[in-house]
Symmetry: C2
Amino acid sequence: MRVRLSDVAAMADVSSATASMVLNGKAGAIRPDTIDRVLVAAEALGYRPNALARSLRSQQSHTIGFLSDDVVTTPYAGAMILGAQEVADKHGFALLLANVDSDQEASRHSLEALLDRQVDAVICATMYHRIIEVPAQLTNSPAVLLNARSDDNSVTAVVPDDYAGAEAAMEHLVAMGHRRIGFINDRAGNRRPGFIIDQTSPPAAVEREQAYHDVLRRHGIDRDDTLQTRAPSDPTGGRVAATALLDRPDRPTALFCYNDRMAAGAYVAARHLGLAIPEDLSVVGFDNQVLIAEAIDPPLTTVQLPHLEMGRWAMEQALTLLDENAEPRVRRMPCPLVERESVAPPNHPSADT
Amino acid sequence: MRVRLSDVAAMADVSSATASMVLNGKAGAIRPDTIDRVLVAAEALGYRPNALARSLRSQQSHTIGFLSDDVVTTPYAGAMILGAQEVADKHGFALLLANVDSDQEASRHSLEALLDRQVDAVICATMYHRIIEVPAQLTNSPAVLLNARSDDNSVTAVVPDDYAGAEAAMEHLVAMGHRRIGFINDRAGNRRPGFIIDQTSPPAAVEREQAYHDVLRRHGIDRDDTLQTRAPSDPTGGRVAATALLDRPDRPTALFCYNDRMAAGAYVAARHLGLAIPEDLSVVGFDNQVLIAEAIDPPLTTVQLPHLEMGRWAMEQALTLLDENAEPRVRRMPCPLVERESVAPPNHPSADT
DNA sequence: CTGAAAGCGCTAACAC
DNA sequence: GTGTTAGCGCTTTCAG
């Protein structure tokens, strides 16, 4: 059996109440020598408070629930958890994990497991940038959405700024002199079941496409819809789509890909067509999956998804919500361009437009 | 304020003790109609037990601590957590996360945060297969090591069977007809040139190297130390090492790489030397980092690290330890070969040996 | 079969 | 200034 507060109190010859105050720094009105006695007793006994008892009494578990939709499987997940963890730890909070899958019933169950354990707040993380419906049970406790937002923005949330990220990528390409830029987007309408209901097409796809068009227009480059295509967001999808875009006389000199996996597929397509990267073709990806970006040749220039920062921010907000009840805010986290070696000026700047 | 057990009891017109028994399935000796009344009351009120209070009383938190050394950053982490989570969930347990970094002091603090919260057991996970020293605080509570083991095997642990995995990879290569097989090992833990197996090296490096030699010997293939090298385990390391191995007349017809990142580097080296994979050169990796294995061309044949299974097993053991106190056991989890397209019979089977 | 009572280990009012 | 008392919400003897 662990040593209890009463043991410390007994040894210091004070009441457990006094010991409690001393140990919690609320010893404003306690004689210095008493404080000392308690401190040495605690030290001598190796006293560690029972957080359960403390929580029960103080109605604060110092625990934040982290609910995710399989997020934990993806390489992104780690960064979000780590970021959240990091700031939680700094404030003496711990993270209680729960995972939800496509099964609605199971998801409710997972959430309740968290709530039953009296978490002070919950962070709801999704694998992909999504618009979700906040589970009803959450309306009572402070909640923040991570990599997701509610459609009415009534819950504080943090999402990547896909628009600005795509904009940076496109501006980079244009600044390098590219005028004919292909865009391989994610195939819209892939609905995945989840605890959280999917609305329309993923915000990432919508925003990046918007940025693609806006940047071109801003630079007076006529829209050419044959330069844009959609495919499943994996290497095969990227390869097939890139082949279609590149295997023609008026091929684009640069490709902006929805993600790094597709960009890897585009590399394969380019090589099969005898196109060297970046000499004959520039490629920009999205996600900054370092595993991929550094594994392919040449290393991929891509846009970073700021999962670590989002994780940190989400936890900071969650903790803030415990003190004050602030207005819900949704933060769009910047996605910086990470320049590697897959972009260069075009060999033969196209003369059209 | 949430509805308490006493509310349910009051509504059902029984004592809270009775309500408790009913709700916990220990209603062996309670009249059916009383049971019903309690049940409908609980339902009507939407009663959810307060897990904190329950834990405090029953001295069982139904929570397992998951302590990891930054593991959460790596793409492997997710699978371990997910596996653990999955079985925890099935048994009504939750996962409390803590992260430790290189800082000893901070690590002790993290562990204590878990213990203070009265976790019933803790799982200690490491990013890489390692031999670790079990923290002293852990000796009191049930613990299982995940992807790590103690040097005296006195703590139950699960690690990947790197030896068998490497053996399978090598047997595959040999079965395909390869006799000259290069091995690019990790250099961590041994900065000396030369190819001596060194106890300070990570188990993964030691075991895979051992398997490499054993398989060759078993098939009567003479050892040729010029076919073996070490490098940092990243794409650049792999490229440099592979170039050294391949840029010579008696080059190997196949390469076994320490991990998929190095294998990706080997791909680059091969292409620069005009070697086609798998026609001119077969490559096998390790880890089955799907992100990489599917992104490079051709898709990489590699050995799977069974993180999901290890996570599951670790949690199962942890839960088992709560009931019975079994003997510590260490499990070596199989690492299956995942065949893709980077292996083919050699073009020109070497005539030597 | 069911209820009363006694805590689990701690904190927060309120006396002294 | 410090100790006493009363719970936080639940489970678990032990009477009846």
